[in-house]
Assembly symmetry: C2
Homo-oligomer: 96 residues x 2
């Protein structure tokens, strides 16, 4: 299923900027960055619980937030991109 | 239907920062800000075309991006929030 992860991390402090880097780094292990704070992750429920637990450990829940949107398996017509840097289809094999 | 609008606007220049303010301002006319660059808009297809056309006019398509996620009408169990500043339910009446 496609899970969209969006986050806001308060970067007013060095600790906040460190949290932001850690959140982004973890998200890249699970999906494709489509915007600065938006990742699309094609994963099963177990992987989803895993990344959620990892991110919850990193953020400061009083200052930062995470949102998870569950788009299911049939998501191709549910997503539209306009402008710069479109994300590629995470379900398609990449040939280099 | 619930439409999620996410955006990245390049704010390296004053013009970019102006575009960012305009995009955010327009989005507030259509929905609820749930994170810095994430809005949830409960709207019909006509409204959605309208906001899309307005935002497309504002952004620089070489530098900025918009993403629209169509979550349908049955979205309550498709969204999960962790941490600070949860958005309220845009379909519920607000009594003050």
């Amino acid at each position: 299923m496609l899970v969209l992860i969006t986050y806001d991390v308060n970067t007013e402090t060095a600790a906040g900027r460190s949290r932001l880097r850690k959140v982004a780094k973890q998200c890249t292990n699970y999906g494709q960055r489509v915007q600065n704070s938006v990742f699309e992750c094609n994963m099963d429920a177990a992987k989803c619980r895993q990344v959620k637990a990892i991110l919850e450990e990193i953020i400061d829940k009083d200052k930062d937030s995470l949102r998870f949107y569950y788009l299911g398996d049939n998501y191709k017509n549910k997503v539209e991109h306009i402008g710069a840097k479109p994300g590629f289809d995470v379900t398609e094999t990449l040939f280099i």
